[in-house]
Symmetry: C2
Subunit: 145 residues, 2 copies
């Protein structure tokens, strides 16, 4: 694999060099060395960054992503973690699907006030169930917190 500098990585990925340095600092990517003071990257950093961007788009934090796709990952990718994350995305997809359906309906619903629309109310009730589940779990006993 060829060696490229940070500007080339930035150009190929459309990621600012400042973000690349930040990622290196956080341990998400690694340069294979220096040429003077300039970082030298192996071209495989491109694939690794692709995974990172994929994870970002899926809503994972940089810390989570570092665990999902560790450096020197030849041997260390945790398959259990990956399927857990896949399941997490699956739940997100379900939530988004009902949100999308709700919005789509709201956009064409003839009711003047969406809150009067039976179909929209059904969607709200589904969400409210999740809410009340949450609020009974972490019950605020006093002000704030």
């Amino acid at each position: 694999m060829a060696e490229i500098d940070i500007g080339e990585v930035s150009r190929r990925m459309g990621i600012p060099v400042s973000a690349l340095r930040f990622y290196e600092q956080k341990g998400l990517i690694r340069s294979i060395g220096r040429n003077g003071l300039r970082r030298v990257f192996n071209t495989d950093v491109i694939q690794h960054l692709t995974l990172i961007m994929l994870g970002r788009e899926a809503g994972f934090s940089l810390d989570e992503i570092r665990n999902m796709f560790p450096l020197g990952g030849k041997t260390s990718i945790d398959r259990g973690l990956l399927s857990a994350k896949a399941a997490e995305i699956d739940r997100t997809i379900r939530r988004l699907t009902s949100m999308r359906n709700g919005l789509q309906h709201a956009a064409v619903c003839p009711e003047a006030n969406h809150l009067d629309c039976p179909s929209f109310q059904r969607i709200l009730r589904v969400v409210e169930k999740r809410q009340s589940a949450r609020s009974s779990r972490k019950n605020s006993l006093t002000d704030n917190k």
Copy 2:
């Protein structure tokens, strides 16, 4: 509709009172008045907050949500905006679906190194296409940015 105080709203929604005050300040919710210095809410704030939570879960910013579900929305909900947002979610769902498939595959893939797995590479290529589309749009001409 009955009148409730901020603590009741907090309990019903499982949202900290500090967040409720913050939402009011940002114009996402509105109290119908004061009882002394205490806010008084109409119970319909519960439904409005349900919409807000729905939007949060779908990944919209508070500013976006304020536009999607304006206060006094009886007349003013922008249906075009709602279907645009629905379409946005739809694109997100598609991205998440390929991410989930990628992770699911990676979790069971027999290849020691995922980057060697043909099926995983296919997924990466799909993402890379989106990346290069993005990087040619906003092309960094000089250092940083």
